[in-house]
């Protein structure tokens, strides 16, 4: 079971934050098909948010085919993001990335520069793919 949190200062609507967190957990393999999502009542009570906000997030996940409600029981994960094989590749890729980060720090880059370099490289690689 995952636990939701809310960033009050992000400016992102709370129901979108909940959706992002489910998608994120699916990508990282923290949530798998068949897992139950936290009960609406528990999320509302835990975060002190309107239950309709939670319902809206869950309905959106249903619409995306990622979850399904079983009346009287709860909402369950029915889809995946990124298949099992790609999840298995996470470990080695993470290690590569850690080595790269160590190198970047060794070259004297601070966190902001590392992030900027990563994002700009990521973007230009994506643009090349599209072109």
């Amino acid at each position: 079971m995952i636990e939701f949190h809310l960033d009050g200062r992000s400016g992102v609507a709370p129901y979108l934050q909940l959706i992002h967190q489910v998608r994120h957990a699916l990508r990282l393999g923290l949530l798998r098909e068949g897992d139950q999502l936290p009960k609406v009542k528990d999320v509302a009570a835990g975060l002190a948010i309107n239950p309709n906000t939670v319902l809206k997030a869950y309905r959106e996940l249903e619409y995306e085919g990622l979850a399904a409600a079983r009346p009287g029981i709860g909402t369950f994960v029915t889809g995946t993001l990124g298949d099992g094989a790609s999840l298995a590749a996470h470990g080695p890729l993470r290690r590569d990335l850690q080595r790269w980060l160590a190198k970047a720090r060794g070259a004297g880059l601070d966190e902001e520069s590392i992030e900027a370099l990563f994002v700009s490289t990521f973007r230009s690689a994506r643009e090349e793919d599209i072109a």
Binding site: L6, G8, G11, A13, P14, V40, K41, A44, A45, G46, L47, A48, I49, N50, P51, N52, T53, V54
Partner: protein, 296 residues
Amino acid sequence: MTAVIETGSLGKRYRRLWALSDCTLSVPAGHVVGLVGPNGAGKTTLLSLATGNLLPTTGTIEVLGGRPAAGQAQLARVGYLAQDAPVYAGLSVAEHLRLGARLNPGWDAGLARSRVERLDLDAGQKAGTLSGGQRAQLALTLAIAKRPELLILDEPVASLDPLARREFLQDLMEATAEQGLSVVLSSHLVGDLERVCDYLIVLVGSRVRLAGPLEELLAGHHLLSGPRRDPRSLPDSMQVISASHTDVQSTLLVRTSGPVLDPAWMVSEVALEDLVLGYMSQATGRGRRNHLEVQR
């Protein structure tokens, strides 16, 4: 679905002063409604009319389809938590629960008991010696355990510290989810409202300035900033709620149904606070200072 509160040209006058004027509202069921406005705007008056503690001077009000406080059955359907969570200082926690059981036909003793246990309230303790947070929680317990369809709360968390406030709102949201309650609460703590409310009513100077589902209201308003210009030159589809100007720049809060296409404007989304402050300054004329300066 019937409206939880339906008013038509509702007004309340104290001697010569109108505390509420020409209030026409239809609040649908199943929402947590935030009632906001400055002190003295008429929030408590509206809530007192809804609970039947006050009678209207003009107009009509129906709550859950009935006249407020019209009889036993109507009283049982509405829970009310007045400002500062009043409890009987000389009665113990257990005596409050017994009183609740005696006075309310639909009393849920199991719910009341389990809440008191979970809150770690000592059943024998006099309510007058409880902390502010505990007192509010005891009052909420009484209001929830009568199993109302509509819960009306007047500034329930204003006097609580941040932790007690969060705990109170957590329990309120849990009850809302569990019992399918409709809730109307007044507050001027915008941060709290942003989390719990999905319907907003802005009351300023005894009048309703804005009412509707929160998401629609947020989507229908934009903050525009750009080169200084006269708000009157904007298209008719845009209603200017508040405006401020420097010698080179104008910043406007506008209400519009469509997208803003004029490339001269930088458009940003509004948050609940922008909306509330915008309508408050529109009504009071405060915040227009800069506007007057440039028109000199």
